[in-house]
């Protein structure tokens, strides 16, 4: 039997982080002077630690994950059996949903790459090489990494926020990807040299087109090709495109 009158439930609540700050402080003070309660806390901590492996005791099979993933992602993927590892499958299914229409493989090739990059970036836990909302940080970061330069508009005070950027490969070339937030949406801007003329076959001449539920706008200017892609509404995509065109005239 414990001689100390300290409520054991309060000790547990303390370990759970369930005590108010002042209660926690006075309990801590008590613990320093009471070996009995200190031993009790030590035992409870050890029990909790022994319980942690319970978090990973049962792991779902890759097959089951694919099954559920297939059910919740767009219906159009249903017929496909992907033999990728589970993590890659997650990505592949999303990309597949985006690039389904393939009457013209060549035409969609360019778009697919862009969408692929966008989706993989959205799915990544670590999406940026450089995290900054400041265009004066992001632009110089690309120096020496890409064989061209481009300008960024001032986002402060606009509906857009610069979230970060990363170096990507698009059409077999180093390209810049910027991620711009608009409300809850994230929009990717891809900039790459257009020396191969791959824009020729693109299905979108001007303005925003809808490609499998993504809105995308693309244009070529002074040898650079720009893509703006995301799930934000068409007007938003277009305004971002205009802002970029404004500073890269």
């Amino acid at each position: 039997m414990t001689a100390c009158s300290q409520d054991r439930n309060a000790l547990a609540a303390y370990l759970d982080g369930g005590l108010a700050a002042d209660q926690a402080r006075s309990l801590e003070a008590h613990l320093r002077g009471c070996p009995e309660c200190a031993a009790e806390v030590a035992a409870q901590v050890k029990l909790r630690r022994a319980m942690k492996p319970a978090a990973t005791r049962f792991a779902p099979s890759a097959e089951f994950r694919r099954k559920v993933q297939g059910q919740i992602s767009s219906k159009r993927n249903m017929g496909f059996r992907w033999m990728w590892p589970a993590t890659v499958a997650a990505l592949a299914v999303m990309v597949l949903a985006v690039v389904w229409t393939r009457q013209s493989v060549a035409r969609n090739g360019a778009f697919r790459e862009v969408a692929d990059l966008h989706v993989s970036d959205m799915a990544s836990a670590n999406p940026y090489d450089v995290v900054s909302s400041d265009r004066h940080t992001v632009k110089p970061w690309f120096q020496g990494k890409i064989p061209f330069a481009f300008n960024l508009p001032e986002f402060a005070g606009s509906e857009f926020t610069l979230l970060g950027a990363r170096l990507v490969y698009l059409h077999q070339q180093a390209a810049a990807q910027l991620v711009v937030g608009a409300g809850k949406h994230r929009i990717s801007v891809m900039v790459v040299q257009d020396n191969a003329g791959f824009g020729m076959g693109l299905p979108f001449a001007g303005g925003v087109s809808v490609r499998d539920s993504f809105n995308v706008e693309t244009w070529e200017k002074n040898g650079l090709r720009f893509y703006v892609i995301g799930d934000a509404e068409q007007g938003t995509i277009h305004r971002l495109a205009q802002a970029l065109q404004g500073v890269n005239g």
Partner: protein, 172 residues
């Protein structure tokens, strides 16, 4: 687009939900049914899910309701009723000293098997708190009970687990 958004938010919870379902049901096939049902229901109800609220608690709650309505869950429902009635064993479990508890936790298997043998209402709340590391508020959301109930049930569950570990220790 909603589907993609849902997928991005909900799939990272997959392992956690599956593990929890296994602990609840004690059976992998039952757990798979539960998880599948949970994702189907969550996708359907995603439109009504308010952005900014806790998706994890919301999905755990759907999983739990699915479990309670499943065959294996119905059998266990009595454990929730019993939970409120017991408490008389308090004096006994206080005999389990910190030293005895320390010894008992030496064995991973012992801790797991004690956890497995707890009534589901107690196993569930201990898992949510210690394993999934949810706050009292989050647990209250999952269990759909007031936070005060979370604290009292958790206290009973811990006593119960401790008694189970202490008893094992005594036998050994």
């Amino acid at each position: 687009m909603d589907r993609l958004f849902f997928e991005q938010l909900a799939m990272p919870l997959f392992d956690q939900l599956y593990n929890h379902a296994c602990w609840l049901t004690g059976d992998r096939a039952d757990a798979e049914d539960l998880v599948q049902e949970t994702y189907a229901k969550a996708l359907k109800g995603f439109g009504s899910f308010a952005e900014g609220t806790n998706l994890r608690a919301w999905m755990f709650r759907i999983l739990r309701n699915a479990f309670l309505n499943s065959r294996s869950g119905l059998k266990q429902k009595t454990s929730y009723l019993e939970d409120e009635e017991t408490g008389a064993d308090e004096a006994v479990t206080h005999d389990v000293t910190p030293e005895a508890l320390l010894l008992a936790t030496e064995s991973q298997e012992m801790v797991f098997s004690a956890l497995e043998k707890l009534p589901v209402a107690h196993r569930e709340i201990i898992l949510l708190c210690d394993v999934d590391e949810m706050s009292y508020r989050e647990i209250a959301e999952v269990l759909d009970v007031p936070p005060g109930t979370v604290m009292s049930r958790l206290a009973r569950a811990r006593r119960n687990l401790r008694a189970a570990l202490g008893a094992k220790e005594a036998v050994r």
